[in-house]
């Protein structure tokens, strides 16, 4: 583990990405307590203010402190993105691994269904699920998880096909293990490691997808300060106070870039040949 971190820190992408992601996680974990003001307190005397001494990043249309809102919205954005990616990864890994293990006609059937699902763009697919389930943060999380699963299952299957050829899988079959045990205990742990890289990069997409859903009014609901929702709410006041859009936009971009860099770094660090 420490060796992996050292290898990660050796590449510039890994080092920068790691620092950004660590910073973002800290903010997300402690943000609500660090907020200097109540994120939902109105200040009618100080609406649409720019960055200044009393409000670090300015205020919105109700005079709420943008800095406090950003901090309290961090967990809703970052952790939801990570969790929905995790859901998508586990789901996809299981489907892909099972497909590779079963092989033959079952593999063919599963992968063709996955192909069909993948033909729908993930945003559209997530929209579909959210409209079916109703608009809420939890449903957005489920929707993104499911929307990510087909892509992950393709990646997982290709890894699992090579794992399938290893003799430890044959040994398990030979001693009479059931399919469930072989997929979950023998194959999955060996499949997950390589697709961690893919998952890390996808967190960035999840952040953006989540923000998009909230922007469209299908994710988090007011008065939540989820970053995508903040961008969405600022749209009407774009010209009166652009800071309302700039800060959450920048934060989303930072998280996306951080996870992307970390993913690139991990790919190099996990590859023993570099």
């Amino acid at each position: 583990m420490t060796d992996l971190l050292r290898r990660l820190a050796r590449t510039p992408q890994g080092a920068i990405g790691g620092v950004i992601v660590a910073f973002v996680f800290l903010l997300a974990a402690f943000g609500p307590w660090l907020a200097p003001a109540d994120p939902e307190a109105f200040n009618y005397t100080a609406r649409f203010e720019g960055p200044g001494a009393s409000f670090l990043l300015g205020t919105d249309q109700f005079g709420r402190d943008l800095f406090s809102r950003m901090l309290s919205g961090a967990p809703a954005t970052v952790f939801m993105a990570v969790l929905s990616t995790l859901l998508g990864t586990l789901l996809g890994a299981f489907v892909g691994t099972a497909s590779a293990y079963l092989g033959g006609r079952a593999d063919e059937a599963i992968m063709r269904v996955v192909d069909a699902v993948m033909a729908i763009p993930s945003l559209l697919f997530a929209l579909l699920i959210v409209t079916a389930l109703g608009a809420s943060s939890f449903n957005a999380f489920i929707a993104i998880g499911i929307a990510f699963a087909p892509g992950m299952s393709r990646v997982a299957r290709s890894v699992a096909l090579t794992v399938r050829k290893h003799d430890y899988v044959n040994a398990a079959v030979a001693r009479g293990e059931g399919a469930g045990y072989i997929i979950a205990r023998e194959m999955m742990p060996n499949v997950i490691a390589p697709i961690v890289v893919e998952a890390t990069i996808r967190v960035a997409f999840a952040v953006m997808l989540l923000a998009t859903l909230s922007f469209l009014g299908l994710g988090a609901q007011p008065p939540s300060s989820e970053w995508g929702l903040m961008v969405s709410e600022s749209r009407d006041y774009l010209f009166r106070n652009p800071w309302m859009m700039i800060w959450p936009g920048l934060a989303i971009a930072l998280v996306a870039i951080g996870f992307n860099l970390l993913g690139d770094g991990l790919r190099d660090a996990l590859n023993p040949k570099t």
Partner: protein, 545 residues
């Protein structure tokens, strides 16, 4: 073997050569104070186990070292001139023209996108300044010289269109094409089948005598090297521990390490297994295969439509029997169907025919219940691949016990302790992951796993061929000990005839999916009935002395 002509300046001389590899944890000494000389027409055999530094030495001579290699001292002289002081472009001109190399795996040594002819001819164009027409003609001649049947057609083929043995012949033709002074052979026959390897060795000897090239022959196989080299140097942990004339090394080894190495080389004339008791001779068979066939692949719909549904045959009508406690050797070259049969026996391949095991009859993998699976265990060739890298040793071993119906945690822990003891591994290894073990230790864990359910038959599928010869000897001794203790029967699959003759009671010889001979070991050795068996026996290098 003729003695080489002595000249004053040796063709290749390595003097006091020392090399380190830089690793994240510090320097690692790969070669220390190496002194070697090879004269014209001489073959020096370099023998060592994996990690001993023998390949590093070859790459040092070729001036193709890894980037983290640091040369600390010494010189490498080709006809007197130190290669270490030559600039890069001089080295490039020298490679192939004055010093050649033949690699272990001809499959990766040849470029798959270029025809064989181009690969042979381009060295001639580059180093001898021939134009392509002449180079092509000379190349065709070389291919004919190395014993390829249709050299002109061969020149136009791509590497994937020819067999492994043919590829190695092309690689040898390329190495000899420019008549270099010195050629390095890095395990040129290890990746080949026994009979093909013998043919390549004969070719090597012939070409070597004809051209008088100075050869460094690197191998892990002491028996083979002692047969073809004039002198043999033994390398151990980066040091040359002993250098002797080839015929003396087996008879009068000086160093402990050499003696240990020689003791590990399997000697068919010294059987290790006591003969079966006469009463087991009459006992009913433990395992009886009758007319087992395995076909691979499923015919495509299109082919079935046209009525052509022939499938690849892995094994055809294989029948043999195994008695309780017997060691049955199953030998043959790669692709002969040995592993196919092994996999069918543990339910990894569907099969046609009947398997009778301890009174029960099985006609397919579905008939194999937990009882059968407990009684018949398999150990695979590569321990790296057969142990799950993400499970600790205790988890790997516990699984077989849980499947066998043991639920009590304390009982499982105690049994794991006993199993580790059985295979002579320390008790604290239970907490380790496979990557924290050496190759031999991993194979011991695999053996412990196989013995966890107290099987009556263990199938050993080439279990020692990925291991060094000294480790192989330990593993074989362990297997024989376990058999002594538990009375287990073995189906011992191998291509190493010397080894199997040392331990098996009877041999089954397979050739292209068919069983061609089944007989007691002594009979096979003294009076082989089938042509293929005779050929196989003739191809095996026997230890000199």
């Amino acid at each position: 073997m003729s003695t080489p002509a002595d000249t004053d300046v040796p063709v290749l001389a390595v003097e006091g050569y020392t090399l380190d590899y830089l690793t994240p944890t510090g320097g690692l000494r790969a070669l220390e104070d190496i002194d070697l000389t090879i004269g014209r027409g001489e073959v020096l055999g370099l023998v060592g186990e994996s990690g001993s530094g023998k390949s590093t030495l070859a790459f040092a001579v070729m001036r193709d070292l890894a980037r983290n290699a640091r040369e600390r001292a010494g010189a490498i002289r080709l006809s007197g001139a130190d290669l270490r002081t030559l600039p890069g472009n001089e080295i490039a001109r020298l490679r192939g023209r004055r010093i050649g190399m033949v690699f272990q795996d001809p499959g990766t040594a040849l470029n798959p996108t270029i025809t064989l002819g181009t690969q042979v001819a381009e060295t001639l164009v580059r180093h001898h300044g021939l134009d392509w027409r002449d180079a092509w003609k000379r190349g065709t001649g070389m291919l004919e010289r190395v014993g390829l049947k249709t050299p002109a057609a061969m020149m136009a083929r791509y590497p994937h269109e020819v067999s492994g043995g043919e590829k190695q012949r092309v690689a040898i033709a390329t190495a000899f094409a420019c008549q270099p002074e010195c050629i390095l052979f890095d395990e040129p026959t290890t990746a080949l089948d026994i009979i093909t390897a013998r043919a390549i060795l004969d070719l090597f000897r012939e070409l070597q005598a004809e051209t008088g090239v100075a050869s460094l022959y690197i191998s892990h196989d002491l028996a083979l090297v002692s047969e073809i080299a004039h002198r043999v140097a033994v390398i151990h942990r980066g040091r040359i521990v002993e250098e002797e004339p080839a015929n003396a090394i087996f008879r009068t080894p000086r160093e402990d390490y050499t003696r240990q190495l020689i003791a590990s080389v399997p000697r068919p004339d010294r059987p290790l297994t006591p003969p079966l008791a006469p009463e087991t001779d009459a006992a009913p068979a433990l395992l009886d295969l009758s007319d087992i066939s395995v076909r691979y692949g499923r015919p495509s719909i299109l082919k079935r439509l046209f009525g052509r549904s022939e499938r690849v045959v892995g094994a055809r009508d294989v029948s043999f029997a195994l008695r309780p406690g017997e060691i049955l050797g199953l030998v043959g070259e790669s692709g002969s169907g040995k592993s196919t049969i092994a996999r069918a026996l543990v339910g990894l391949n569907p099969f046609e025919g009947e398997i009778r095991f301890a009174g029960r009859t099985l006609t397919g993998p579905r008939d194999m219940d937990q009882g059968y699976r407990r009684d018949v265990q398999i150990i695979f060739q590569h321990p790296d691949s057969s142990l799950n890298p993400r499970q600790r040793v205790e988890e790997i071993l516990a699984r077989s016990l849980i499947l066998a119906g043991t639920r009590d945690r304390r009982e499982i822990a105690a049994t794991i302790g006993r199993l580790l003891e059985d295979v002579a591994l320390p008790a604290d290894y239970r907490r380790r992951f496979p990557h924290q073990l050496s190759g031999g230790e991993k194979q011991r864990v695999a053996i412990a796993r196989a013995f966890a359910s107290r099987p009556r038959l263990v199938i050993c599928d080439e279990i020692t061929s990925a291991l060094d010869v000294s480790i192989q000897a330990q593993i074989v001794r362990l297997l024989l000990d376990l058999r002594e203790r538990y009375g287990t029967a073995y189906l011992f699959i191998t291509h190493d005839l010397n080894l199997v003759r040392q331990i098996a009671h009877r041999l089954v010889v397979m050739y292209r999916g068919d069983v061609v001979e089944t007989a007691p070991v002594e009979t096979v050795a003294s009076a082989p009935a089938h042509v293929y068996t005779r050929e196989l026996l003739g191809a095996v290098p026997t230890p000199v002395g």
